[in-house]
Every structure is written in structure tokens, then in C-alpha cells.
């Protein structure tokens, strides 16, 4: 009977293991994906809960009430139309057109799903309608309005669209998150619904776009990490580099002549960076991009962000060369590019973006308080310092001079990304940068669709953001 018993034991262990696996997987998926499932606009129980529970308020970091519930249980936003439009993509709207706004993504808190048993019993005994938790965001809603205004002032095209993100690079707090065009959540017209620019999209976190020259931050990091004495090496830019029969040109067909890496970064020389990408090879460049979070499944706790892509298939030499310039199917969201700049600012450490400052029950019990959390180390301290000096130089006398602000030391990188939209070839404008000042630890990303040049269209908006921060933000 001995071998029989051994086999019985083996079979039993196997079965127990299966059940254990199911249990662990269940706990894992509820903790990681739970919010994403609850906040689905298709969640009927969420709609039914609205009838039983009074949804909590959403408040910005300065105490401005962005959304509250009236006596009939309807959702009420700010009085001022401009103000409520500016935060519409953060909060969401009544009909759930905006995916994963705070109103739906934090329904667990707002509709009191997280209430503890004693609280539920108390509410039952008092016979009152239960109130959900109040959620305080890290967002400064005034800055959102400023950004929307800056878009209206600086972008000349008729149909403006784009996105902007501001975050604190030391803590990961999202100070501002804007997607253009905005719309009025209480009055959704047919014009909004039929707009080809899709106003309901939250471009800051949902659109993955070619990052263009802003990706050179990553290419340069990779070069500094992998190639020896790369700063001393001299490149020649004739304005056109031929790779396997395809010609890589510079923006505006510029010719930069003989130059080294710092200057190439400052003037954003496509030829040099294409050569760098070829010298690095696909694997080294991809490894650096992945350490910055590309090809990563972003499962942030407070916000749903589309994953960024560094392509893994069909890697010809032409594609690799273009990768150095942030083209060739590379795609990232504005929020992620903001995190890239923030990682450089924060000595190579990327913080997890956070949106919840505090969650408080209606009875005043603090259920959650912001705790900054490191997301990953993107680059070494030395490389981050070097790239930071390049970026400071770029704003001081390179392509991003339009972002300068008196009295602040600003670092940045512009980008002009070529893409095709509805069959047309278009050029999107980017700016990523940060204030190199421990009193104002803020990183910024501005993206203007069809803005053509980053220095021309995106940098002035960033300048407006920096000026606002300088004028109104308290020293930290």
C-alpha cells in the first residue's frame, strides 16, 4: 500500500495547490483590478447604489467643491461654466461619457462601498440615508482653468485639441490634468457628441501618441548608460542620414554640422540621435525605455492610464534609427511623458502618480491619506543629473526658449512628432519639462495636436503654467 499512499499524497497536494491558486488569484485580482471593475460605466449596481446612498463630495486641494449631491440625489458641479469645464475630464460626467473619472473610478468611496460594518449599522439604526465618503483630490482646479485659457490664447488653429499634465515630481501628486477640447458636463450638446475631435476622450491618459523628440531624453539616457565617453564623441550632421535607402531629415531641414551630444540634445538633432540609436542597438534602447515604464502594465491605484509602447516586432534598421527620435510606432500618453521628465528631475526615481489627497467619511473618519510611493528607478543619479543639465541648457539657449520664466530655473525638451491622422500627415507639438527648484518640485507636459513645432506651440503654454506656479503656489 505504500506507493499507493504516496500517490494519494501527491494527488492531494496537487488539488490543494489548485484551490490555493484560485484563492490567491481572487485576492490579487480584487485588490489590483477591483476599482477598475467597479468603475466600469456598465456597472448597474453602481447606478442602483446611487438610489440608496448619497454620493460624497469631490473637493480640490484648496477646498473648492468640484462635485456634490443635491437633495434629489442629482450630481451638481461648480456654478461657473468655465471652471466646471476645465475639470470635466478629471471628475467625469453624469452619463459616464468620460471613462474612469474620479466620480466613477472612486465610486467605491463616493458611494460608501468601503464603509465599515459599524458605520453601516449606525446608519441603519439612525434610519438616515447613508452618505458616501468625501474625496479630496491633489488637483488645483484653478490651474486647470489657467491651462484651458492658455490653450485658447496660444494655439492658433481653429479646432484646438491637446492635453496638459502637471505633477509634483517628489510626491507624484497630480496638480493638474487637462484634455482639450473640454465640454460642459451639465449641458452636453449634439455638437459635442458629433465633434470629430471626441471631446469625451481624456487625452492626457487615454491617447497614446508618438512622443517625438521628447523621447530623446530616453535615447540620451541610454547612450550615457551604455556607450563609453559618448559625451566626447563628435557627430556630423549633414541634414540627412541615409539608413538602408531611407533618408532621415531634421525638422525644417536644418544642418547642424559637427557637434557633440550636449549640443545635439539642445538643438534636437535627429541625425545624431538616429546614429545613437543605431550604435546602441534595439535591445539597449528598449531596455532603457522599459526602465522608464514603456511596455509596462500601468496599474496605478488612483488613475487609469493607457500603457505606453516600445515596439518589439518588425525592427528593421530604419525603424531602430527612427526610434532614437521617438518615432517608429513608439507611443506614450502625455501623463507618462510627464512622468519621464519628473524622473529626471527627481534624481532618476519615478513616483507613482497620485490623485487622492484624502478620503474622509461623512462622520469625519479619515479613511485614506496620501502616501507618496516610488514607482520605479528609471536611471542612475549621475545620468539624471547629466540629462537635467542638457534640459536646462535647452530652455536657456536651445529649442525651448519660449518656456523661460524670470526667476525660475526651468529645464525642458520640446518635440515635434510626425503622425498620420485620418490619412493626413500631421505634426504634433510636445513640451516636457520641470522647475529645477526644490521649493517648486513640479514637472509639466504639454501636448498640442497638430501644433507643428514644440518650441512654438507647446512651450508657451508650459510657460503660462510655470508663471502661475511661481505666482500662486506656496513655497514647499
Amino acid at each position: 500500500m505504500k506507493p499507493l499512499h504516496n500517490r494519494f499524497r501527491l494527488v492531494t497536494l496537487l488539488l490543494i495547490g489548485l484551490l490555493l491558486l484560485a484563492g490567491l488569484y481572487g485576492v490579487y485580482s480584487v485588490t489590483v483590478y477591483g476599482n477598475r471593475w467597479i468603475s466600469s460605466s456598465r456597472n448597474l449596481r453602481y447606478r442602483e447604489a446611487k438610489n440608496e446612498v448619497i454620493a460624497g463630495d469631490i473637493i480640490d486641494r484648496n477646498g473648492v467643491v468640484l462635485a456634490t449631491t443635491d437633495e434629489d440625489g442629482g450630481r451638481v458641479y461648480q456654478e461657473d461654466q468655465e471652471a466646471r469645464e476645465a475639470v470635466v475630464h478629471v471628475i467625469g460626467d453624469r452619463d459616464g461619457n468620460v471613462a474612469n473619472g474620479v466620480d466613477s473610478f472612486q465610486a467605491g468611496y463616493l458611494l460608501g462601498f468601503e464603509a465599515t460594518l459599524p458605520e453601516r449599522i449606525l446608519a441603519l439604526l439612525q434610519g438616515e440615508q447613508r452618505r458616501g465618503d468625501n474625496v479630496t483630490l491633489t488637483v488645483d482646479s484653478m490651474l486647470n482653468t489657467v491651462i484651458v485659457r492658455a490653450f485658447n490664447t496660444h494655439v492658433r488653429t481653429q479646432e484646438k485639441s491637446g492635453a496638459a499634465v502637471v505633477l509634483n515630481y517628489k510626491t507624484g501628486e497630480l496638480i493638474s490634468l487637462v484634455s482639450i477640447p473640454v465640454f460642459d458636463p451639465v449641458n452636453i450638446t449634439d455638437a459635442v457628441k458629433e465633434d470629430t475631435r471626441h471631446p469625451f476622450w481624456n487625452r492626457a491618459v487615454q491617447s497614446t501618441l508618438p512622443p517625438g523628440s521628447t523621447f530623446k531624453i530616453i535615447t540620451a539616457s541610454s547612450a550615457l548608460e551604455n556607450l563609453e565617453d559618448i559625451e566626447e564623441r563628435e557627430f556630423t550632421c549633414t541634414g540627412a542620414t541615409e539608413v538602408m535607402g531611407t533618408i532621415i531629415r531634421d525638422y525644417g531641414n536644418a544642418q547642424h554640422g559637427k557637434l557633440k551630444l550636449p549640443k545635439a540634445f539642445r538643438v534636437s538633432c535627429n541625425n545624431t540621435f538616429a546614429q545613437l540609436a543605431l550604435m546602441l542597438g534595439d535591445t539597449a534602447l528598449r531596455t532603457t525605455a522599459e526602465s522608464f515604464g514603456f511596455n509596462e502594465n500601468f496599474l496605478f491605484r488612483d488613475i487609469v492610464v493607457e500603457n505606453s509602447v516600445y515596439p518589439t516586432e518588425n525592427r528593421t534598421l530604419v525603424e531602430i534609427a527612427w526610434s532614437g527620435d521617438g518615432q517608429s510606432q513608439i507611443a506614450a500618453t502625455p501623463l507618462h511623458m510627464c512622468m519621464v521628465a519628473a524622473a529626471i528631475a527627481n534624481e532618476g526615481v519615478m513616483m507613482e502618480p497620485r490623485l487622492l489627497y484624502r478620503v474622509e467619511s461623512s462622520g469625519g473618519l479619515v479613511r485614506l491619506r496620501l502616501t507618496p510611493r516610488e514607482y520605479r528607478r528609471a536611471v542612475s543619479v549621475d545620468v539624471a543629473a547629466t540629462i537635467k543639465s542638457y534640459m536646462l541648457d535647452t530652455v536657456a539657449r536651445g529649442t525651448a526658449t519660449a518656456a523661460q520664466v524670470d526667476g525660475l530655473s526651468i529645464a525642458g525638451k520640446t518635440g515635434s512628432a510626425e503622425s498620420s491622422l485620418d490619412g493626413r500627415d500631421v505634426t504634433h507639438a510636445w513640451f516636457v519639462g520641470f522647475i529645477d527648484d526644490s521649493r517648486y518640485p513640479y514637472a509639466v507636459c504639454v501636448f498640442v495636436e497638430e501644433g507643428s513645432s514644440g518650441g512654438g506651440a507647446a512651450a508657451p503654454i508650459a510657460q503660462a503654467i510655470f508663471r502661475y506656479i511661481q505666482a500662486y503656489f506656496p513655497f514647499q
Binding site: 484551490l19 480584487v30 467605491g108
Partner: protein, 433 residues
């Protein structure tokens, strides 16, 4: 401390009595809680009396007549009563009458369990009996082919004068008896022929979930009894091959796989159920929304396939994990009984029951949690359904039957070794027929 005094003390404290009392109290108060919700519900009061009574009968009263594994009994009865409770809590929302019906099935289940215990305990010569069982089982499982009803893409139901019956659930008992009998006699061919016919009929009825469980149980049993890795490996490969074949052959299998990979893709139609289950589990969070609260009835077929999601919504995922631990206890007790069996038929039978219950639990709970594709099998003891509950209690009966025989053998050994008849000793009861 001497051995006998320790024995006496454990008798005095009676841990089994405490456990069963706790379970009875839990269900008594739970049913009362629902009965007092809103207006008074007389059904709730009835169930608050009936369910604890059934638990008492099955776990404390019946074992007076023969030795039994009380921990195993308590766990199985807890799960049955939990099914009644959860179904009754949804009744108030939907206006259905599942809770009361399930309580009746639970009572019937206890009877069937008793029958199975007596069967295993008192039948010592199975040769003829196994023939009868095998023939009846084959006839029963083929019945839906003649006058079956299609439910959710599978033709595995028969409805006779208003009473619906799922033969494949009942045949489970027969399958385990027949397979373990032939394996213990080392008669491979009748074993294979019986298994293949059962599988074939199930495949033909497109009851793929049950077919999967039959197949995996047969394979596990084969491995446990022979230890032949080559043929077991070939069996796994064959199973995988037929799974691939099924994927390309049956449209509803293809759909289920696609829905498993991404339930949100086709939310309005095929992905609806699994997405709703996930949202239910998520809205329950760690500790649940509370008994009788939440909106579990939004989930399609919440009362059978998705009942684990309902439990998780009301009691929380931590309770869900505790349920899994209960099934694990069940498995461990089953394996313990199988190990202590003196006859290889009994050992294999106990192991087979354990394997079948464990696999069925994994297939349905893994499916609800989106770990594996969802197949329409019931959650043992808990899901709504008379045939399923009765057959699961039958399986527990088989296990208890083996346990009682084990205990008798031990007692016999004890008496023999203490009889001190000089010169001659009685044989030990380790006879393998």
C-alpha cells in the same frame, strides 16, 4: 498524564459539539436577520428553525448509529446550509422560491447520504452489484439523448412530469463506484470501456464542463491506482488535444474562451455574465456589503454558476477564501479517509470522491474568478439545484461509508490486540479481498 485520562478529557470537552453549535447559531441568526428585513417573512422563520435542525440531524444525530468523520460532515453541511441562506437572501429581491426548494433538496440530500453510507458499510460483495450499477448508469446518462431539453447550449436535462433531472450528476456516484471497483480488481478493459462510453455520451450532449470533470477524475484515479506516468501523460495529452478539437468544433467553446480572455470586449452579449460577476466580487471588497444587501441578482444565473460571486459580494473576498479553505479541509479529510482504508476499493473510492469534489470546486470557482474559462458546472453543495446537491451529499455518503468501515477495522484490531488469548491470535483486519 496517562493515555486513558487524556482520552476521557477530550470526550468531556467535545469539540465537535461546539463546532456544530456555532454553525447552527450562525444560520439561525442569519435567517432571522433576513426574516426581519422590511416586513416579516414567515419563510425566514421556518428556515431559521429547519436548517439548524437539519444540520443537527446530519452531524450529531446520524453519527450515533455508526462511526463517522464529524469534521467532514460539519464542513459539508455548513456549505449546504450556506447555499440555502444565500439563495433565500436573493429570493426577497426576485420573488423566487429558491431558498425553500433548496432546503427541501438539502433534506433529500441527507437521506441520500444515509443510503450511500449504508451501501458502502454493509455491502461486502460488489461483483453483481457493480454490473447492475454500471448498466443503470449507462441507461440513465443516455436518457437525455432520447428526450432531453437543451439548457445553455448543452442537452443534459430530462424533464419528467414537471420534475427536471440532470442525469450526469447522479451518474457521478455510479462512475466513481464502477471505476474504483474495476481498478481495485486490476481489470483495465471494463474500466476503460465504461469511462469512454460515459465521456462519449457527455460529449455528444455537449455537456463539456461535466465531461471535463469526468475525464480528469478518471485520469487522476488511474494515476493514483497504477502510478503509470506514461499512460497518464498520454491521457493528459489526449485531453489537451480534444480540448483544442473542441475549441475549433464547437462555436460556444470558442466564444467562452474569447470571453474569458477579455470579457469587456463583447460586454452586451457574451461577456455580460463574467463582467457582472467580476463587478459583484469587486463591489463586495474585502468584507462584503452584508447579507441580503447589494445587487447580486443582476448577474445572470446568479443562483447556479455564479453563486460564488454572490457570496463574495455579500460576505467579501476574505470569506470567499475561507470557503476555499473549507473545501481544502474537505479534501484533506477525504485523503485521510482514503489513506486509512484497508481495502484498495475503499481507498480508491474515497480518493475518487475527493478528486471529483476538488476538481468541480476548482473549475467553477476558478471560472468565476476568471482564472480559467467559465464552464457551466455547479459549485458543490452550494449551487441551486436538486440533482447537484443530492449527488454531492451522495458523494459525502460514500466517503463517510468508507470512514465508518475504517473505524470498524480499527476497533476490531484494538479488540484483537487486547483479547490476550494465549497461543492463538485472531487475524488482523487488513484483508484486501
Amino acid at each position: 498524564m496517562s493515555r486513558s485520562s487524556r482520552f476521557r478529557r477530550s470526550l468531556q470537552s467535545r469539540p465537535d459539539r461546539k463546532l456544530v453549535s456555532a454553525i447552527m447559531l450562525f444560520f439561525f441568526s442569519a435567517f432571522l436577520l433576513i426574516a426581519f428585513k422590511g416586513e416579516l417573512h414567515w419563510q425566514g422563520f421556518t428556515l431559521a428553525a429547519v436548517v439548524p435542525a437539519l444540520i443537527y440531524i446530519a452531524t450529531m444525530w446520524l453519527p450515533r448509529f455508526f462511526p463517522a468523520d464529524k469534521l467532514l460532515l460539519s464542513v459539508a453541511n455548513f456549505l449546504c446550509a450556506l447555499g440555502v441562506l444565500v439563495l433565500y437572501s436573493t429570493d426577497l429581491v426576485k420573488g423566487t422560491n429558491y431558498g425553500m426548494q433548496q432546503a427541501v433538496y438539502y433534506g433529500a440530500g441527507i437521506l441520500v447520504m444515509l443510503v450511500c453510507i449504508l451501501l458502502v458499510r454493509y455491502i461486502r460483495y460488489w461483483r453483481v452489484f457493480i454490473y447492475i450499477i454500471a448498466v443503470c448508469a449507462l441507461g440513465l446518462i443516455a436518457l437525455p439523448l432520447v428526450f432531453g431539453t437543451e439548457v445553455y447550449g448543452a442537452t443534459n436535462w430530462i424533464i419528467v412530469s414537471g420534475i427536471s433531472l440532470q442525469p450526469s450528476e447522479v451518474v457521478k456516484l455510479a462512475l466513481l463506484l464502477v471505476l474504483s471497483y474495476y481498478m481495485s480488481r486490476r481489470r483495465f478493459w471494463p474500466w476503460l470501456i465504461f469511462a469512454v462510453i460515459c465521456m462519449g455520451v457527455l460529449m455528444f450532449q455537449r455537456d463539456l464542463g461535466t465531461a471535463l470533470i469526468y475525464y480528469a477524475t478518471a485520469l487522476f484515479l488511474y494515476y493514483a491506482s497504477t502510478g503509470n506516468l506514461w499512460i497518464t501523460g498520454a491521457g493528459i495529452l489526449g485531453g489537451a488535444a480534444s480540448a483544442v478539437y473542441g475549441y475549433y468544433q464547437f462555436a460556444h467553446v470558442k466564444r467562452r474562451i474569447a470571453v474569458w480572455l477579455n470579457p469587456w470586449m463583447d460586454f452586451e452579449n457574451t461577456g455580460y455574465q463574467i463582467a457582472q460577476m467580476l463587478m459583484a466580487i469587486a463591489s463586495g471588497g474585502l468584507f462584503g456589503v452584508g447579507l441580503g444587501l447589494g445587487f447580486p441578482t443582476i448577474i445572470p444565473v446568479y443562483h447556479t454558476d455564479a453563486i460564488f460571486a454572490v457570496i463574495c459580494e455579500q460576505f467579501g473576498i476574505i470569506f470567499g477564501v475561507l470557503i476555499l479553505i473549507m473545501y481544502a479541509i474537505l479534501i484533506l479529510r477525504g485523503a485521510f479517509i482514503a489513506r486509512n482504508a484497508r481495502r484498495s476499493f475503499h481507498g480508491l473510492l474515497a480518493m475518487g470522491v475527493t478528486v471529483m469534489l476538488a476538481l468541480q470546486t476548482f473549475v467553477i470557482i476558478g471560472g468565476v474568478l476568471k482564472l480559467i474559462p467559465l464552464t457551466g458546472v455547479t459549485m458543490p453543495f452550494v449551487s441551486y439545484g436538486g440533482t447537484s446537491l443530492v449527488s454531492c451529499m451522495g458523494l459525502i455518503g460514500l466517503l463517510q461509508g468508507v470512514a465508518s468501515v475504517n473505524q470498524d477495522d480499527l476497533t476490531y484490531d484494538y479488540e484483537v490486540s487486547h483479547s490476550r488469548v494465549d497461543g492463538e491470535s485472531l487475524p488482523f483486519a487488513s484483508l484486501d479481498e
